[in-house]
């Protein structure tokens, strides 16, 4: 009975565009010495635009130079694991928050969980467990870098620009429906 209710809620969430919906976001990070990171991505907005998951279509520019042409043709988002002090494998659940002090991620042209040699990166870590607080912008092809230790939460902004138009929202809908189907599949297996 509970699973039915959850399934109904997921369908409602996917279709209504209320609590969680696909959206585009812009972000900036202003380093304390004046340099800046700017960028955007597409993701599932939650908490009224205060956080985003299912992030894709990452675009980052550091000091006017876009992160393009790196190891991976598209930028990759890795979350930080405070338990192991390493980067987790890429996951749709990785969250970027409007509250900068909640962020623990790196955007780069590599899967940071297995490759520590990117051409570009923007890391934003607030790890109370290991006392690591820093923001790093680095373009290894140009040799430009800036580091804030501790990270400057006041310099971070995340802005939900607009809900993603329906065609772009379809993958999100399908993924939610997929979840519904998965629950149904599990129910049937369990019944057998």
């Amino acid at each position: 009975m509970i699973k039915k209710l959850l399934t109904a809620a997921a369908i409602c969430a996917a279709l209504s565009g209320g609590a969680a919906h696909a959206s585009t976001f812009d972000f900036t990070y202003d380093f304390t010495d004046g340099q800046a990171i700017t960028g955007s991505f597409t993701g599932t907005s939650a908490d009224g635009g205060q956080s985003a998951t299912n992030i894709s279509n990452l675009q980052v520019t550091f000091e006017g130079a876009a992160f393009t042409g790196g190891v991976s043709p598209t930028l990759i988002l890795n979350s930080w694991n405070t338990g192991s002090a390493t980067f987790n494998s890429p996951s749709a659940s990785t969250t970027i928050y409007a509250n900068g002090s909640l962020n623990n991620f790196v955007i780069s042209d590599v899967d940071a969980s297995v490759n520590t040699s990117p051409d570009y990166e923007f890391a934003y870590i607030n790890d109370a467990t290991n006392s690591i607080y820093q923001a790093v912008g680095a373009n290894f092809t140009l040799g430009t870098v800036d580091v804030d230790t501790p990270a400057n939460a006041a310099g971070w902004t995340l802005t939900e620009v607009a809900p993603v138009p329906l065609p772009a929202a379809l993958p999100l809908l399908f993924s939610s429906l997929g979840g519904v189907g998965f629950f149904g599949f599990r129910r049937r297996r369990t019944a057998r």
């Binding site: 390493t86 990117p118 870590i125 790093v136 680095a138 290894f140 870098v145």
Partner: protein, 776 residues
Amino acid sequence: MQSDIKMPRPTLLAAAIASTLALCSTSAFASVSIVRGVVGGALFTPPVFADTAAASSPASTAASTYAGATVCFDLNGNGVCDAGEPATTTSATGSFSLISTTLAPLVAQISTSATNNGSAIASRSVFRANVAQIQAATVNPLLAASVNLTPLSTEVALAIENKGQTYAQAVANLAQRIGVSTSDVLLPPTQVTNATDLPAILKESVIAQNRLTLAAKFVDRGDTVGELRGNFDCPNPTAAALIASATANTSDGCATGDTATVGTLAAQNWAFNLEGMPQYDYVFVIIEENESQSSVQGSAVAPFINSLLSSGGTYYNYFATGNPSEPNYLALGGGDDWGQTTDEGLPYPAVTGVRGNLWNSLDAAGLSWHVYEGSLYPSPAGTTANTGAAAWNTATGGLWFDNPANSKILGSADSAAYGSGLRAMKHNPAVWYADAAAQPDFATNSRSISGTGTDVNGNAITYSYPSNTSTTAAYNWTAAGDWDAPLQAYATANGITSWWTGNTQPWTQDQFLADLTAGTVANYNFIVPDQDDDMHNAAKVIPRADAWAENVVKKIESSSIWNDPTKRVAIVITFDEGESVSTSCCGWNPERSGDGKAQLVSFSANGTETGSTANLPAFAEAWKPTTTFTSGTSTTSSVYSTGNHGHGVTLFGVYTNQQALGLVPGGNYDTDYYSHFSFVRTVQDMFGLADPGQPGTYVNRTKFTEAFIEQNASVLPEFAGSANPHFDAVRAMNHVYQFPAGVTRVSNLPASTSGGVALPVSTGPDATQVNLWATQ
């Protein structure tokens, strides 16, 4: 037939995965490096030296950062930021961020266009950080590693490179050596908040910065290995030519590698080993009096001193530089006796006009010094401040309550029992230099010592030569340190406080023990027994002084600094005078009555130059005295008409904690020719007070190296008649010089004397050509 040995399929798979991962980790996925840090150190404001306290001021040190320094990843490891290496410039606060796709050491080039806390930098230097420091600070290659470039990070790099230490060992050793936490030792001083650690880190920063500045000079001048290890013959063609033409027994020349110029890394290592003299943290000099080498070395009534020589090292041709006492103490304090040939030093000070001496040199380098004197009189007035010469010898008793007529504070009965004037002002080698004595720290540097009592752990000391056991009555001793208890009782009864604490603490007759216990002894400690305990007075002289020295040495041996292998500690025992013959070596001035040689320069009573100064070259003008020597009971106008005569060979032994802890061998000897001048030069080397490439940076006669004499022989009349400048030259006591095969040293100690001790009378180089000051 199938093989019986099969590799299971899973194992093959695992091997393939492992090899793939290995490839990934070493090539395909080599890590980037991101570093962020501060180039920091200390801003040292040197003291102002003058002959009066009012015109003098002490040094000060502040935590600092370097703005405008170039920081780079040193991809080729040469200690230089080369073109093409990732580089940046430090901000106004000394901070930097830097990235590289290749892990490499970090270098900070601090040029004269950079600033230190906003102050101009007179001479460039280089700070470094080893790759291991970056690796240790790296949590993840995609995050910034906090790596600060400081003088101390450079010391860690040098320890890894030259002493075979791991990064962890190098950090732990440095932290332990200077007494700070491992978490603070590599922080820029501006970020150190621990109130105990900060002063220690600042002091070490000043010490290391001075040496790293020297290292940059070595590189910029193109100095050679030969110069830096103290072989002055080798690198200089002029000197080499003079040696070849003027001396018959000079085949030392260049050793393999001596002609190579040094790069930054080698130069920095040499800067911490000037002329081959390792950096020392603490040196204790125990000065004895008036016994010849042959009456002590090998003597059965000086068992402890001889055991010290056996455990440590012995110099067999070490020359006193004058007679009587006072000229030698002048020489031990400043590398010259300034023409003094008597003990008529009253009133003090004797040498005026700011000029080099060990005390000022140590102050100017941020290092500390103490003179500990036995039977020091508690000042009845509780002297509160050093006000210069006027305070030293007042009728009411000042800081330097020396005049026996004023010293009978013990009362007539005690005076009758113990005599008066046991402590001799003339045996204090610092008081003679007016500019040193006028420094604000002079009072706090002048302290008491006792040759009696327990060690720092409260354990009684057992003496090698027990009292009252000799069949020779004169050698029965019972009263080493005989004034200590009455003086302490007097001080306690009268509520006297100690001037070295600014009169905040009660007087103790053994501040030395308190300092050893607290770890507050100075870097350079000159220890002066009273005249009953230094072999000066007639009765029971040798065993009593042997016991006094044993008490002091065993206190040192019981201290934590001595037993800490990360600290470099040396004990020297030597004498002021020699064998009562005017033989000498080592930068002496033979311009004395009747020798017929030209006088270098003379002065009238009011200090006016009257000699041949018009012909003095610039270098001579730089070191010549600036005022006349003033003697209390006679007027000496010609500074160099007398003095530096030499007084023959005397005993000199050195015993280090490195030997005691088994880190380096002991029991060696050195038959090279040295003198008080050599020892002062050696002290300057071990504390980094001078630049071997610039003779003028060594004080007074200690600059008279073989190369200096040879290069300037035509304008140094006192050396005009010298047959061989090797034996006239001052050289550091480093045993670099190797006697040519045909030269036989005639030891001043016949093998038939001294209790049958076999003394080396050898031809050619010593069997063990070992630097007796060597450290691990």
